[in-house]
């Protein structure tokens, strides 16, 4: 298959807590086989926060759930390799071998704190369950640990929360509980699937700070999934951008914002409001809709929506390749892009001539 980023880092003793190579996740549906994640590769180092960005349906959540192996294995096929801590091949474990990893060395925070807690059990019950599943602590010890974790998350009145039911807590409080639950066994890898999407802005900032603190205190590697580029700028070290099941750009967070290479990434950045945006103009939008996974187009998957597309784009799927712009401060090979015209685009833009795309 294609040469990938991960292979470039394939040296022994690397600090990567997670290395995903050519991950392919397919579902059996009534409309046939749908490949939601198609050849995704990335790595997460200890203490690093990797952002995974994309529109809904681009496969970012499926990527996360594939790493945890949370999908219904009757209807899901995994392919590729997911290496945890340099040695363990997660996709090859049996369900019984996989289970001890979940919740202890792999922690996960879900998008919707309203529904990710069981409504009929108290917060304490659910936290204690998480702790006692992986340790030999007594109920009392586990309860102490649960309280300690809640205190770390900064939830007000943690003793009271332990006795309460999920519906008695606010959204932000519930998300803190979910974070406490994910962190209670001090995981090596934390997967946060849009942890702040359902929350208001103030709570969002607090939760982000909490995740950042935990990363510093526990040296946890974090996969941070989001569609919000503002959040990415705030918290992530490196970023991969996904479109329709594929990684289309992979770089550090500064390069992403300063020198986006893929037209889709450019479009995403342009459609994100910022303080510098001129409010008198409408924000540009990316035209067209995301194609569905059952009808993946040939060639570049973004071509139909891309202002720079040429005939060649629709002929073959472009590879994810190193991108090097003259004068760029990024080291060669640390910026990958899946676009055959990435180098030409800045020139095309500076001449302001977009309509020439049919001439080639």
């Amino acid at each position: 298959m294609t040469t990938t980023h991960a292979e470039n880092h394939d040296d022994a003793g690397s600090p990567d807590v997670l290395r995903v190579r050519d991950l392919r996740t397919s579902f059996a549906t009534e409309d046939g086989l749908v490949t939601a994640v198609d050849g995704v590769s990335f790595h997460v180092a200890r203490g690093e926060i990797l952002g995974i960005v994309g529109e809904s349906g681009c496969g970012k959540s499926v990527t996360a759930e594939s790493v945890m192996r949370l999908l219904d294995e009757d209807t899901t096929d995994y392919d590729g390799s997911v290496t945890f801590d340099g040695t363990t091949e997660l996709l090859e474990l049996t369900e019984d071998q996989m289970r001890p990893y979940r919740g202890s060395r792999l922690g996960m925070i879900f998008q919707d704190p309203m529904s990710s807690l069981n409504p009929v059990y108290t917060i304490g019950n659910q936290l204690i369950e998480a702790i006692r599943t992986h340790t030999r602590l007594t109920k009392q010890q586990a309860a102490d640990k649960a309280l300690q974790m809640l205190q770390i998350t900064g939830i007000p009145e943690p003793e009271l929360r332990l006795r309460q039911y999920p519906h008695q807590l606010s959204g932000g409080q519930r998300q803190r509980v979910v974070i406490a639950m994910a962190m209670c066994c001090e995981p090596d890898l934390l997967i946060a699937d849009e942890p702040t999407t359902a929350l208001d802005v103030t709570t969002q900032a607090q939760i982000l700070r909490l995740i950042d603190d935990l990363r510093c205190n526990y040296d946890t590697g974090t996969m941070f999934i989001t569609h919000d580029l503002g959040v990415v700028a705030e918290i992530c070290d490196r970023v991969i951008v996904m479109y329709l099941g594929q990684v289309i750009e992979d770089t550090d967070v500064h390069t992403l914002f300063d020198e986006p290479a893929h037209p889709y990434t450019r479009g995403l950045l342009a459609s994100t409001p910022s303080l510098e945006t001129d409010n008198s103009k409408d924000l540009p939008i990316i035209p067209g809709a995301v194609p569905t996974l059952t009808q993946v187009p040939d060639g570049c998957r973004f071509a139909a929506r891309c202002p720079f597309a040429i005939d060649e784009c629709t002929r073959a799927t472009p590879e994810l390749r190193p991108h090097q712009r003259p004068g760029s401060h990024t080291a060669a090979g640390d910026h990958l892009v899946r676009c055959i015209r990435a180098e030409e685009i800045p020139d095309l833009l500076s001449t302001g001539d977009e309509q020439e795309d049919t001439d080639d």
């Binding site: 579902f27 059996a28 009534e30 046939g32 369900e95 950045l269 067209g288 929506r305 977009e354």
Partner: protein, 341 residues
């Protein structure tokens, strides 16, 4: 960035393809439904059995001796060539009576289903549309639903007197609240949609909005529910007749034949078994048909069907294998066991 507003590549093909699809969809919806119905094995089986029972009801009495012919010499004959289902204690042919009973049972069931559907639809729609009517009608239906169906039917029959037409009246009273509830909740969903607001704003009359715009949207659940009422009416009619409160003898109904059978259960098993098997198969057929129609008509139920998911998975796996072969990529199908939920 300013490049995003006019692009030759995006919008054009989308619009044409989309609108073509839409035209295509409306045109072929009916034949598509029939194809899917034929492909739905259970619904098709149910429909077929029901057709057979209906044929027995229509043509059976023409081909058999009269179900009312009393012949003392022929009393309690076991099944034979001459009387395939045997004879009863008056020497009447049980097959003939079962066929005649099919007429009575299917007629009562179908008539009740239609009456209930019409009445339930009207009540449900008005309740969904008018809040005051809703309060009153739904409290009444709550109250009626507090009576177990069979008991309320017995009581109404006791008051009205034993007559086939009264059975239909009683069953309609009993089952209408259930249909009205389903129609109401389907209509409530539609009522909240913007197009109804728009119609109101345009000044469309209430009758028009209810019958022209809302009613078509409740047709699917109504058909499904009417099918189940059909089955329940046949069961309840049989129970009523079995208790001596339904179709009055000597007219045969499957229920009152069973009552005769029970009294002679030691000597004439055929008097119990044959009408019993007919009731069972008919109800089973209607339930299969109803479940199938619900599958086909109600999209929210589709995903829950057993077996479907598995079949889809099998098909998809096969497709995957083919694609894999084409691309000659080393696909490694993961087969992990020990997963239970």
């Amino acid at each position: 960035m300013t490049h995003s507003t006019t692009t030759p590549h995006s919008a054009r093909p989308d619009i044409t393809v989309g609108s073509l699809n839409r035209i295509d969809k409306t045109r072929s919806r009916r034949s598509k439904f029939l194809r899917r119905f034929a492909a739905h094995k259970l619904a098709f089986t149910g429909g077929s059995i029901l057709v057979i029972v209906t044929l027995v009801a229509i043509f059976g009495p023409m081909l058999t001796p009269s179900p009312f012919d009393v012949a003392g010499a022929n009393r309690l004959q076991p099944p034979s060539l001459e009387h395939p289902f045997g004879t009863d204690n008056y020497g009447r042919d049980v097959l003939a009576r079962v066929a005649e009973g099919a007429r009575v049972s299917l007629f009562v069931g179908a008539f009740t289903a239609v009456c209930t559907a019409v009445l339930g639809c009207a009540v449900g729609l008005y309740a969904a549309y008018n809040r005051v009517a809703d309060m009153i009608l739904m409290r009444i239906s709550d109250g009626l639903m507090a009576f177990p169906a069979i008991l309320l039917a017995i009581a109404i029959m006791a008051a009205l007197g034993q007559q086939t037409s009264n059975v239909i009246i009683a069953l309609t009273i009993v089952f209408t609240p259930y249909v009205a509830r389903i129609v109401r909740s389907s209509a409530l969903v539609v009522r909240e949609q913007t197009f109804v607001e728009a119609l109101k704003a345009q000044g469309a009359s209430r009758t028009r909005i209810i019958w022209i715009n809302i009613a078509p949207n409740v047709v699917s659940p109504l058909i499904v529910q009417a099918t189940f009422v059909f089955a329940d009416s046949i069961i309840t009619e049989a129970a009523l007749s079995f208790l001596g409160a339904g179709v009055p003898p000597p007219a045969p109904s499957w229920g009152n034949m069973l009552l005769d059978g029970k009294n002679l259960i030691y000597t004439a098993w055929w008097m119990t078994v044959f009408p019993g098997v007919f009731i069972m198969s008919t109800i089973l057929a209607i339930n299969l048909l109803g479940d199938g129609l619900r599958d086909l008509l109600d999209p929210t139920y589709r995903s829950k069907t057993s077996g479907r998911k598995r079949k889809a998975r099998k098909a998809a796996r096969a497709a995957a294998r083919q694609t894999a072969a084409h691309q000659s990529t080393a696909s490694r199908p993961t087969t992990r066991e020990g997963e239970s939920s």
